[in-house]
């Protein structure tokens, strides 16, 4: 029904090669055999469906969403739409998918480095603003897990674009040693309705009432639990301890960490009068290790290097490096730390969802 608004766009020819097959089962078999999936079945990307997705984003097939700058690979709207259809998205998810890809093509995100690295990171996506409710996204029960179509397929669409458009195939451009389950999909919405805190996107400069995505190259989430206190400093210390552990056992370099705080612990922080910035300040002060601490985790050989045993490392370059997100189910004293791929070599990028500059 909105086609007429995009009549010029709709008339631009789709450029991709076409395959004609008997049915959806045969389509899936062909795409699986060609390595065009993440291993899970796909939805057939028909011309009609792809056009619906382009229309929903207000894009023409050959519009360039962004360019991966190292290998000079443009991501066209048509290829993004094809992969979003395959992932199982609905057409109205497409503006979110496009915004995530735009964010990942910002230089600070370092999309090539973070997707090619042996470190095996995944794009961690946080959605803010009214589009969360329009799309029915999940911000509560099992928010880092399965169960919600938009959460699952938006993240998956990004992975399929990485595979099919940027060649991030394991063992080829993607050199991940282990990877982690978030490489299938790693997307959530913030629980803005059930939190008095300022939503992540607004903290990062997006006007209230606008929808936005924040994307970060991230390692697997590390879940923590503290149900034995109401003291906000003790809860924050449990979180800081997990970050210190990540610094010692995985990577010491400072950068963006994300912190997902579920309802029970959130309520305790709120009752104590803590806002997100109080948590950031606490973690900035406490998430620090000394080079000598490496001896406690089997890395004694590097204690004498660099600045010597008393050299201090901080997890965050400043308190603002910590992305605090209100999300998760109502019961259980849980939070999750989402560590960065590799310090500040990739930085979180926030992108408003909507028409790009120059569109229309």
């Amino acid at each position: 029904m909105s086609r007429s608004r995009y009549s010029t766009m709709a008339t631009q020819e789709l450029q991709s090669a076409i395959y004609e097959l008997a049915d959806a089962v045969d389509v899936n078999e062909l795409y699986q055999q060609n390595g065009w999936t993440d291993g899970l079945p796909i939805v057939p990307p028909t011309e009609e469906r792809v056009r619906e997705f382009l229309d929903a984003a207000g894009l023409a097939p050959m519009d360039i969403i962004g360019v991966e700058s190292v290998r000079q690979r443009p991501i066209s709207a048509e290829k993004a739409a094809i992969n979003a259809v395959m992932a199982g998205c609905l057409p109205n998810y497409m503006p979110v998918v496009v915004s995530v890809l735009r964010a990942m093509c910002v230089a600070e995100y370092n999309v090539h480095g973070s997707t090619a690295s042996t470190g095996g990171s995944a794009p961690f996506i946080v959605v803010n603003g009214p589009i969360r409710t329009t799309l029915g996204m999940n911000a509560t029960h099992g928010v880092l897990g399965n169960g919600n179509r938009a959460n699952a397929t938006i993240g998956r669409a990004i992975r399929l674009v990485l595979i099919n458009v940027l060649g991030c195939i394991p063992g080829q451009i993607d050199r991940s040693t282990l990877g982690h389950p978030g490489k299938l999909t790693f997307c959530l919405a913030e629980d803005e309705e059930d939190s008095p805190w300022i939503p992540l996107a607004q903290e990062r400069g997006v006007p209230a009432g606008a929808s936005a995505v924040t994307v970060m190259a991230a390692e697997a989430p590390r879940q923590v639990m503290n149900e034995w206190t109401h003291d906000p400093e003790e809860i924050a210390e449990t979180i800081a301890a997990e970050i210190r552990h990540n610094m010692l056992t995985y990577s010491v370099w400072a950068g963006n960490y994300a912190l997902i705080i579920a309802k029970q612990l959130r309520d305790l922080f709120v009752a104590a009068g803590w806002h997100k910035h109080d948590i950031r300040e606490y973690v900035y002060r406490s998430a620090r290790v000394l080079r000598r601490d490496w001896a406690t985790v089997g890395k004694g050989n590097i204690v004498a290097r660099g600045g010597g045993p008393d050299q201090e490392f901080t997890a965050l370059r400043s308190p603002d490096d910590l992305l605090v997100i209100a999300a998760g189910g109502p019961a259980g004293g849980f939070a999750a730390v989402v560590p960065p791929w590799y310090g500040a070599k990739s930085l979180a990028v926030t992108q408003v969802i909507g028409p790009a500059q120059g569109d229309q």
């Binding site: 789709l14 991709s16 090669a17 076409i18 395959y19 004609e20 097959l21 008997a22 049915d23 959806a24 045969d26 389509v27 795409y31 060609n34 065009w36 057939p44 990307p45 028909t46 011309e47 792809v50 700058s69 190292v70 290998r71 000079q72 690979r73 066209s76 048509e78 290829k79 094809i82 992969n83 395959m86 370092n110 090539h112 480095g113 973070s114 090619a116 690295s117 042996t118 399929l160 099919n164 458009v165 060649g167 590799y342 070599k345």
Partner: protein, 93 residues
Amino acid sequence: MSVRVLDPTVDTAPAKAGATTRLKSLAGRTIGLLDNGKINVRPLLDHMDMILRSQYGVRDVVRLRKPDFSRPAPAPVLAAMQGCDAVISAVGD
């Protein structure tokens, strides 16, 4: 009834890329050694520097360095490569 579907991939071979002509000999040549910034690359390239001069008769070795191994070489480093007959890019993980 059949279903018509679209190819999700792009041609992965960049249009302008191709293999360059191989040098027949390294003797008298200028060879660049690109340090990508990884922790063990320097001793590796020091050794290559030595054997290129002593065993292959290389005239000059130009030592180049990327400030960040996960980003492209900056323009001044690329410009410095222009004076080389060949460049070896090393990993040194």
